[in-house]
Symmetry: C2
Subunit: 356 residues, 2 copies
């Protein structure tokens, strides 16, 4: 893995974890399952020693840059790329690719979200070896998560024939399906979840950007030139906000040839909601994940998070998510955690940016 | 009602309303139904003009005295009797009776809790007229609430024949019944709830105390003598904590003759729990009693109280009581509000007097 550079995408907020997730402390900077470390630190630690911090690049926002640096003390500061304005994943990956190519003409990007869970590290790297090998030969490679349920919250990848052991052709990317469709995909067996984890050489992805997103390529070229002149930061500040806000999926993947998928099964979770946080937290014999000196009387299957100095009493309740952050309190049914996004929308509509 | 003195008992904490109720801000100092005033202020205001503040005596604890005075700005300060230590209702009523007798040899005490609700003020005074008339003739008179359900949380009074219009003999006081018994009482028709509201002359109750609780009477006599010497406060500080801690029901009523009951129906509630507070609060079309800039999404039949500057979001929940006081948070099922007492017991066991 000597030529592999991890590109950790850490630009999102994870608003489904409001009120814990905020612009300044987004999901990746939280320890939602009480593992002992932030999600982004777990993501980076998982890569060592195969990919040491020197070959980890984190792309995040200006507002979170300092907190990211604090969460990743072993990461060289210059490896944190700070976007003055979020422009979706294509500019973010393109910018990182420019950095990788300057470090290593043969560099391979392993694009990884900063806020996903991976339970089986060995299986992760076994899959990564295959993906890197295929990417080194010029393919755009994606990890496809083997589905264990007819999930309607993810996009799918329809896979074709194997091209190498554990590597299959990609026939098409599919949008989030409805339930009957998702059940068909699960039964068909050749569909995986689009994980948002990609592998490709810097040369290949920059070539695709040049071909499919010329405006983005021009911007990236200007940044590249500025790096020679020692004025990257200033150029980024001016140019980056003007780059086309497009995802790598729509901007590049859907219009590219030679895309391969490595179907994977390494205990992955995108930790998409408080429900998942409850599922993956350690719980007492009544299914409660509470902490501190909580008083729990006849309560079952609840997740409770609160400041250390707050006394929380749960009495006679079931299936609740209770999250107190001092300034805000969420009380949500476990099965309705997706609707937390609607709370965030309501706060936006009320102009309560102080709570976002 | 010229000889009538209201004696407002304000010594309790109302721990079922934790975390809102605390030693320093007990239930009677709260506005649990958001009526616009504290329960004790509502209790005193209800009496005017028939019983003006000059003839209202409030018995409370040293720790709450100042807050009571603040809540009742029209009450003469000397009408607040402050117990150095709570000794249940018999000493409290006896002490008030000493005060009343010194003001008016023919004074009648109307003993009223400070934390009950009365919806129909006119009906209250119509009943009070009857009670005062019977009390003036020497009877111990109690208000009996006409039951509308087989409640197991109250003691009952079995009534005998009428002795005057709207006044009946008391056959016996009955402890809190089990449900089958309570259903029998409801069907029988001659049982009422023991409301804790009493009417008697100062002379009669002090005579009963002399006969049935001579130790208490000695203590009260010492306090009476100290008042002549201008040293009531000091004497109370020494003697009051030594008085027998006994209720008026057990100490006096059960051993007395000539007890009468005025069965009443004036929209009474003892507001015994958060469930009752929810029932009696104004609610939106989904049965929610929330306040401030709460965000309510798909929630029904919930009571929510929180500091003004706290953003509370309720999502997909039913039948919850959510009370945030800054230092503490209660999340309780509406039907389990009685168990809040167990939370308070747990806090006591943990030595968390800072939260009580």
């Amino acid at each position: 893995m000597n030529h592999v550079y991890a590109v950790i995408m850490a630009g999102g907020v994870g608003s489904r974890f409001w009120p814990a997730s905020r612009a300044k402390t987004p999901k990746q900077l939280l320890d939602l399952t009480r593992s002992g470390q932030t999600m982004i630190a777990a993501t980076v630690d998982r890569l060592v020693p195969e990919i040491p911090p020197e070959r980890v690049i984190v792309v995040t926002g200006d507002i979170t840059k300092d907190a990211v640096a604090k969460a990743l003390p072993d990461l060289p500061l210059e490896n944190i790329l700070s976007e003055p304005k979020g422009r979706n994943t294509a500019p973010c990956i393109g910018w990182a690719a420019v950095h990788v190519k300057r470090k290593d003409e043969n560099g391979v990007l392993a694009v990884l979200p900063s806020d996903h869970l991976v339970a089986d590290r060995a299986a992760f790297f076994a899959s990564a070896e295959r993906a890197v090998e295929a990417a080194s030969k010029g393919a755009l490679v994606t990890f496809g998560i083997k589905p264990d349920r007819p999930e309607t919250g993810f996009g799918y990848i329809e896979m074709g024939d194997p091209v190498a052991p554990g590597v299959q052709a990609v026939l098409r990317f599919v949008e989030k399906p409805d339930l009957p469709q998702a059940m068909q995909y699960l039964e068909a067996g050749n569909f995986t979840w689009n994980s948002g984890m990609f592998f490709f050489t810097a040369t290949r992805i920059l070539g695709e950007i040049h071909r499919q997103m010329p405006d983005l390529h021009s911007g990236l070229a200007a940044i590249d030139a500025a790096m020679d002149a020692g004025s990257e930061a200033e150029t980024v500040r001016h140019i980056y906000p003007t780059l086309p806000a497009q995802s790598i999926d729509y901007g590049i993947m859907e219009g590219a040839e030679n895309i391969l998928c490595v179907p994977v099964d390494f205990g992955w979770s995108d930790l998409g909601s408080w429900t998942a946080a409850h599922d993956l937290s350690s719980k007492d014999e009544n299914g409660n994940a509470v902490e501190g000196d909580a008083i729990v009387i006849d309560a079952k299957d609840c997740l409770m998070r609160a400041p250390k100095d707050k006394l929380v009493a749960l009495v006679g309740v079931r299936d609740l998510v209770v999250v107190d952050t001092g300034d805000s309190l969420l009380v949500c049914h476990r099965t309705k955690a997706q609707a937390v996004k609607a709370v965030v929308d309501a706060l936006k509509a009320r102009g309560r940016t102080d709570l976002l």
